[in-house]
């Protein structure tokens, strides 16, 4: 009987120790992050999102004290990567690029499995307005020449954009200009679009203006969106009615705890404030953004409404 009591006592003690270990494990959760973080890039290597991820990677690693591993999940205008993030564990160890409005437009696809309102947004870091660009040796060296040609032979000019999301944005500018063209969706991202332009396989390409800056040896911009000139594209006309702005940031899966989102937001802002990052962004033709979580959520709410 005595032995039995002892066994019970031992059992109780073990349970207690076990429970307290589980409890400390729970507290240890606050020590986030304690292992490598996976960073999903939903567009092909060499594109805008890839560049952004690689630019921020060292800063994020320094701020968080763990490695950030970049993985590519491309396809469907970003939908493949976004849906991958959507079903990832909301433990802060998987994050992804977010490109606005791509994440909103792509969610309208049939059964992609996510809504833009689902995600936990960590912050936006940069933005760029849209641009229409033509190959260097294009016969259309000005917007007027391009519009005139498109009006002369409606539907005969081809314009490439990224996935189905590009179709929407190109449609908006085509309406403003009053022209009719043929849209060609490029899979994967801008990395795949530039060779098509360089080889003149399409008449024009439409994407964010920073690509026109980076690939100035391949393409000439004809027009940019917004109400002012883009600093790195001097002399390129702007179209105030065309409201195409692409914003890049980082997001986490739905249901990621608020304290983890806050940790990531702080790390992101630290990485983005690094002078070398800001300098690279300026030279590359982006606007730099530093946001609090409230600001990014307000931005997303407004954008989601705008595209409904």
């Amino acid at each position: 009987m005595k032995i039995k009591l002892e066994t019970i006592f031992k059992g109780a003690l073990t349970t207690f120790v076990g429970m307290s270990m589980a409890f400390t494990a729970n507290i240890a959760f606050a020590d986030y992050p304690e292992k490598d973080i996976t960073f999903i890039v939903p567009y092909s290597p060499g594109g805008g999102s890839d560049q952004m991820a690689r630019r921020l990677q060292p800063g994020l690693e320094k701020a968080l004290g763990v490695n950030v591993r970049i993985v590519y999940k491309t396809g469907g205008g970003g939908a493949v990567g976004f849906s991958e993030l959507h079903r990832s564990k909301p433990d802060g160890y998987t994050i992804s690029n977010v490109v606005v409005p791509n994440v909103i437009l792509s969610s309208k696809g049939d059964g992609v499995g996510y809504k833009p309102g689902d995600f936990e947004y960590i912050g936006m870091t940069e933005s760029a307005v849209g641009a229409l660009m033509v190959p260097k040796d294009s016969p259309y060296q000005s917007l007027d020449a391009f519009v005139a040609a498109a009006k002369e032979k409606p539907g005969m000019l081809t314009v490439a954009g990224v996935g189905g999301t590009g179709a929407d944005r190109w449609g908006a500018l085509a309406d403003i200009l009053g022209i009719e063209t043929t849209y060609v969706p490029v899979s994967g991202g801008v990395g795949k679009m530039m060779p098509m332009l360089a080889g003149s396989h399409v008449d024009a390409g439409m994407t964010a203006s920073n690509h026109a800056t980076k690939h100035s040896s391949i393409v000439d911009a004809l027009v940019v969106a917004g109400t002012q000139e883009v600093g790195t594209l001097k002399g390129v006309p702007f179209e105030p009615e065309w409201s195409y702005v692409t914003t890049w940031g980082i997001m986490a899966p739905p249901g990621t705890p608020a304290d983890i989102v806050a940790t990531l937001n702080a790390a992101l802002n630290e990485a983005a404030s690094d002078p070398s990052v800001a300098d690279t962004l300026g030279k590359a033709g982006y606007n730099t953004i530093i946001q609090t979580i409230d600001e990014v959520n307000a931005l997303m709410d407004a954008q989601i409404k705008a595209y409904e």
């Binding site: 060499g46 396809g75 991958e84 696809g109 490029v186 060779p195």
Partner: protein, 497 residues
Amino acid sequence: MIEALFIALSPSYLMYMTIGILLGLIVGTLPGLTATMGTALLVPFTFALPTGEGIAMLGGLYVCAMFSDAIPACLVNTPGTPAAMATGFDGHPMVKQGRGQEAIVAACFSSALGTMFGAACYLLLAWPMISIALKFGPPEFFWLGIFALTIIGSLAGDSILKGLAGGAIGLLISCIGISHATELNRFTMNIPELRGGVSLVAALIGVFAVPQVLSMVLGLRKQEYIAEYRAEKGVILKTMIKVLSKPIHFLRSASIGSFIGILPGAGSPIAAIVSYNEAVRWSKDKSKFGKGNIHGVTASEIANNSAAPAAMIPLVTLGVPGSSPAAVIAGALMLRGLNPGPELFATDGVLVYSFGWSMFIAGIVVFFVGLLATPLLVKVIKIPLRLLAPLIMFLAIIGAYAIRNNIFDVYLMLAIGIFVFLARRLGFHPGPIGLGFILGPIIEPSLVQALYISDAVGVQKIFFSGTINITLISLSVLSITAVALSRFKARRAAKLA
């Protein structure tokens, strides 16, 4: 350029490049660890080095992985990366005939030569080659994919119909997931993991490794080892002479490899497939391929290795990487504030050329590293099957999991593996199925884009005009007719006899 050569020959360059090569040996040998993943894992470690040494190390890893992926392809019929699929077609039969050392030495020597050829293209012909590569638009990529598919004719074995069916199955499986051009869900059966598509690496492991393990287990009572193996003296020199005795074969494979390497998005796997196909076409005795012909191994290895340095050409001329590992190297450059592209020639010309030279030298180092490692590697054949089978299975599962850190890929790999194992019993060759997996992601998006463009310019003009299109179509038709003719003749001969 000479200045760049001396920089590339400096001790620190050579040392870091060799470290990269040794890492590449491991990365390439393990199925599931691809050159892309290897370079991406290595990038953070290169930050501590000067830019030149850093990218030389990454380049060394890349080209060595393109050699070492041939090792598992030959020894256990499981390509280490998708680029070595065609290597196994003849490499594994060679091993089974007891010519394991010869197969590995051939792969090693031809990889070294291929790398040097690709690097020479990078150093000397970057601009003329890229101007041809730019002529490849969506319709050209589509026809290139179709042309690569005609290799089924030489793979199919006894039944061409089963070969075609296998290719179609592979292509259909590659369509699973959200479509490339528009956000359309296809064949996902409401399984969320399928939205991202079937992982190419996991699928290839399934196609090759799992059936291999299953047949090992089934044949265990009859067979104790994969093959007979005994070390042979002088085999290294003999093999090298065999490779060198076919200069035209070398030039053809290396040119195909470098050219396809330049095309953004095509890369080493397609280079190897097209090169293998051409080797069969130009050979006098086609029936020897697929049964342990050393030139099947060299065709694939020369091409996939020359494609690796060539994939850097679009990076330095256009600022667009030619393959995924090249994209990782581009990222490593951008993080240092360098903008890979034509401007880099003007601002950091020495860096651009010394990188080319270090890839050239890497070819030589790969050869010696490979030779030193071969005696050790071929010992795998001496592992009894009862140990080897579980070991391959273990590596297959790790590999399928590691590529996306997703257990679903492991289930998928097993399912595909069991399917291919059963299909093989019915006389299907696994090659065409793997081919479909590799070519689907090239053929489908380019077809869709070309169709969109055809709205503006017409189907006839987009698909059936232009020198490249006509050439690729003619070559495809020629391939198909040749296969049909030879089969017809064989059948008639069989009837008469």
